[in-house]
Amino acid sequence: MTDTDPQVADDGPVRFMPQLISLDYTVRTNPVAAAFGEALADGRITGHRCPSCSLVFVPPKGFCPICTIETTSADEVVIEDRGMVTAWTVLTPIQYHGQQERKDYALASILLVGADGTVGQQRLIDIPLDEIRPGLMVEAVWAAPEDRVADDRGYGLGTAIDGWKATGEPDAPASEYEGHTL
């Protein structure tokens, strides 16, 4: 942080200024996200099935963004904690201060069985990086129940799932995921 420390340039011209912006927010978890989080804590992944177009959104949004109609708990469906990799990236962690990661790892988008959209940024576990491919079938490795904390804004799966490991099933055919680039 020496570059941002104003004490460094004692007598030379002041060319930069540090600006620390800190703001406090009160995040309110909306009822749809709260219900999703409760289900996750119980080891269930839920979504909302649009009563108009039948698409299943995971996590549920409380509405269908295609039909622009509201969805409610009456539209809730439980989907499998198993799915197929549609896309992935391998991250090489830069060792900045506070970095927890040491080795290359993969994050994937996964199309869960029963869902019509992928969940993104999912950690793949015990899968050699050069064996990851679209259609690879994976299943959830759930965190211990006490560690399952949902994202308070309703994004993603929070800390409920440690990652995803290969199931050993045959790969899903491209026809099952080709509409999902991410």
């Binding site: 703001l23 927010y25 009160t26 909306n30 749809v32 996200a33 963004p65 622009t68 804004r153």
Partner: protein
Amino acid sequence: MRDVAIVSFAQAGSLVDTAESETQMLLPVINAAIEGSGITRADIGFTCSGSADYLAGTPFAFVANLEAVGAWPPISESHVDMDGAWALYEAWVRLQHGDVDVALAFSSGISSRSDLGEVLCLQNDPYYLMPLWADHVSLAALQARALLDQGLATEADLAEVVARSRRNAAANPSAHPDVRAAGDLSVDQLLEAAYTVAPLRAADCPPTTDGAAAVILVAGDRAREVCDNPAWIRGIDHRSEAHYPGLRDLAHAGSARLAAEHAGVADAPIEVAELAATFSHEELLLTEALGLGADTEVNPSGGALASNPMMVSGLIRIGEAFRQINEHGKHRTLGHAASGPCLQQNLVCVLEGDS
């Protein structure tokens, strides 16, 4: 210029501590505006939104908000980090191109999740003012003092504005419930209250409000086909002051005056003006700057003092000005929006009915 009219307006004007996401809040409002327009969603040729992700502290919330529009198949859209009144302005400009006839402008803001007294400091310049955390109420109070010092208003005048705003808010279901619940307060009662930041008292300042609003704009004859009483945008203009408050005479809103001139406010009498005066003294300052006379009714909705969803308040003012024509048979009305510290930016929109 191509004639463009507002044909529909919807709002969730005064939510309190909403738990909904911005997108959830917007969905029914946008649906209501579209249904009220008699136009199908597929006919909307351009969409523009206004919001600020700093308020709710959700980065890229403005992208998620598009899900409330029905953005698949892909639509033509834009976003401004401004009050929705500026989204309406951009939509109006887009309709001037002539290739699309229908536009949706909407905005949303959740003020209750942050401390506006801190978040709004970030709109100040980052070198001289922001590091002092000079909050918006303190800066507004400097402007109120300028009016008092120059003999342009008294504290009783400020209280008069508050008292009238509250009387009007009582009849407006979209006004903030706390303001409505407080009931009528006399000038004397208002003046008995302690200062928040002198010379402003709590009632001179707006309530923390969450909300959303949407309007449908239609160009040309099609507006008359879908709407019995469209409100034509006869003039619309926005101007800004120098950013740093110490550079200008705070007792006058030069940019509001300029915007009013360019929007043609003085061309004919204005029956009703809805002003985004978020502090009581701003209404006095704006009434003077816009050249509004005693025969103009100001803020029959209660105005921004009665409900102030950040990023939405200005669009609601234009929506209320539309309703005066569309529902109450007025002929010529004005909607005003503001942004920045001490009325730094002002937008003026003059609406006219056919009758």
